[in-house]
């Protein structure tokens, strides 16, 4: 927990403010915002868009799995062997690691449904689609998970799980890998560094309290993660007790935790079927809101570049993505491809892209003072020197360390520990990561629609913003005086 809390306060929240500032000030999708900030940095915006493209095409299939497992839960369809059920009956994972197109019907149909739902929501727009979906999915997610956590806390052995989660391991604090994991988790969790917050903040009103909202978002996100962690570890404590093994050995993470360990728990726990529906239902809702945000980054970028409407952009982008995603992932080899692409896009897409972006913004184009002034002008909290030191100093050092350590690890042993052939990792991993950068460069060389103004006058923006803020404050002061007079 200690590395997690430090990472949130020292990197997560500062980076969230940076993304907010860029999107809100330059009022565009990631590529447009970066271009308006400094022409050559448009490539960084497209890099983030390309990262989102890759994530979206594999993310949808995980939601599809969760949809099916939600329906499997009442009948405990996995029987006595959740692992065999997952890899055999459900995914029909073949032994040979390759890129194939043998479709698995049980995964294919929910996968298509996920894409249809996502594209419809995005096509409907920010207010009628994205905002509406979040207003339904998020509260449901919170309610479902609160019930789940409450149930999990009463399972026998839950306390052992909580002890495993919260007992500080002081020796582990000296392990750089632990800090790397914590910073990585915060990064992905807050959706910073790959265009989502830049895009979303570009839709906010001029007078939005960015820093104030940012603190609420960050603490709400991490607060919910704490709640989820309590529920998950309580359940793992139950499973550990049942199997007679320590909590640390019960499940690693990711696919194994969600689709093997949890079904085991569901089978054994009192009211397990309900826990199952709630857990997998929560995964579906959380996954859908994430997928929507990821795809929106791409749609917004295409809208801005081509000057076309939302529906056209959604179809132009969404249909090819859905087709590519459907061809590659609901298949007998989809899991292998997902695993490698996820590992490499997270490290050499998100983290490397964020490192380069932070260095560019802070140290090359030197926009931190401007962005700090922008944030402070509209916000109740004022991110000043400390914020700039964290962004310009600590974050690049931490990201640089994580990436260098990872390159060294991967150069010593092919990712997958021998499970994947070299050509597979080189193509779906390294090749994909390099292709993202090439695609970003090519896209940044394409001309912008004449309908889009890619220019930006920093001083003019500061003047206008000052007027807007002054009129807001005057309105409120006048309103307060009137209220006082009436009293």
């Amino acid at each position: 927990m200690i590395p997690y809390l430090v990472a949130l306060l020292c990197a997560g929240i500062p980076l969230l403010f940076l993304d907010y500032a860029i999107g809100h000030r330059y009022r565009g999708s990631a590529p447009l915002s970066f271009r308006r900030m400094a022409r050559w940095t448009e490539t960084l915006g497209w890099w983030q868009v390309a990262v989102c493209f890759v994530i979206a095409i594999y993310y949808a299939v995980i939601i599809a799995w969760a949809v099916m497992y939600m329906f499997f839960s009442p009948g405990l369809a996995w029987g006595d062997d959740p692992k065999g059920f997952l890899f055999g009956d459900f995914l029909q994972l073949q032994d040979e690691v390759t890129i194939g197109m043998n479709f698995v019907p049980g995964v294919l149909w929910p996968h298509i449904l996920v894409w249809v739902a996502t594209l419809v929501i995005i096509g409907l727009g920010v207010a009628k689609g994205i905002s509406w979906a979040n207003k339904i999915f998020m509260p449901l997610l919170v309610v479902m998970f609160v019930i789940l956590v409450a149930q999990a806390l009463f399972l026998p052995g839950a306390v052992d799980g909580l002890n495993a989660l919260f007992t500080p391991n002081w020796e582990a604090l000296a392990d750089p890998g632990v800090w790397a994991a914590a910073f990585g988790q915060i990064f992905f969790s807050l959706s910073v560094g790959f265009g989502i917050m830049v895009t979303y903040s570009s839709y906010l009103k001029r007078k939005t309290d960015l820093a104030g909202s940012g603190f609420v978002v960050a603490f709400a996100n991490s607060g919910f993660e704490l709640l989820a962690g309590i529920g998950v570890f309580a359940a793992l404590g139950f499973m550990a007790m049942q199997s007679g093994t320590p909590v640390s050995e019960v499940a690693a993470g990711g696919v194994g935790l969600a689709f093997v360990a949890f079904p085991t728990i569901i089978s054994q726990a009192p009211m397990g079927q309900l826990i199952g529906v709630l857990f997998f239902g929560s995964l579906v809702f959380a996954g859908m809101t994430s997928l929507i945000s990821i795809v929106e980054v791409i749609v917004a970028a295409v809208r801005d570049k081509l000057g076309i409407g939302r529906v056209k952009a959604t179809l132009a982008v969404g249909l090819p993505m859905a087709i590519i995603s459907t061809l590659l992932f609901p298949t007998t080899t989809g899991l292998y491809l997902l695993d490698v692409m996820d590992e490499f896009v997270n490290k050499y897409g998100i983290l490397l892209g964020a490192l380069v972006s932070v260095v560019a913004v802070a140290l090359i184009v030197r926009k931190l003072p401007r962005l700090s002034n922008h944030l402070s002008a509209v916000s109740s909290a004022k991110p000043r020197t400390l914020w700039m030191v964290l962004i310009g100093g600590l974050v690049p050092i931490v990201l640089g360390y994580i990436l260098i350590a990872d390159v060294i690890t991967k150069s010593q042993e092919t990712y997958g520990g021998g499970d994947y052939p070299d050509w597979f990792v080189n193509t779906a991993g390294w090749g994909m990561a390099i292709a993202l950068v090439i695609v970003a460069i090519v896209l940044s060389l394409l001309p912008w629609s004449k309908r889009v103004d890619t220019g930006f006058d920093e001083d003019e923006e500061d003047r206008e913003l000052a007027e807007v803020v002054a009129s807001r404050d005057e309105t409120l002061t006048t309103g307060t005086r009137i209220e006082e007079a009436e009293l």
């Binding site: 200690i2 919260f166 007992t167 939005t208 309290d209 603490f219 607060g223 109740s380 909290a381 409120l476």
Partner: protein, 38 residues
């Protein structure tokens, strides 16, 4: 739960949920939020 875990739980809840409460309260009082609402 062991004492160290209890302390860590309290610290985590205080920082995250306490931070959320403080941030939400502060946001409600901010001028931008007030103008939006009012």
């Amino acid at each position: 739960m062991n004492p160290d875990a209890i302390i860590m739980l309290i610290v985590s809840v205080a920082v995250l949920w306490g931070g959320l409460g403080a941030a939400a309260w502060h946001l409600r009082r901010s001028t931008a939020y007030q103008e939006d609402e009012g």
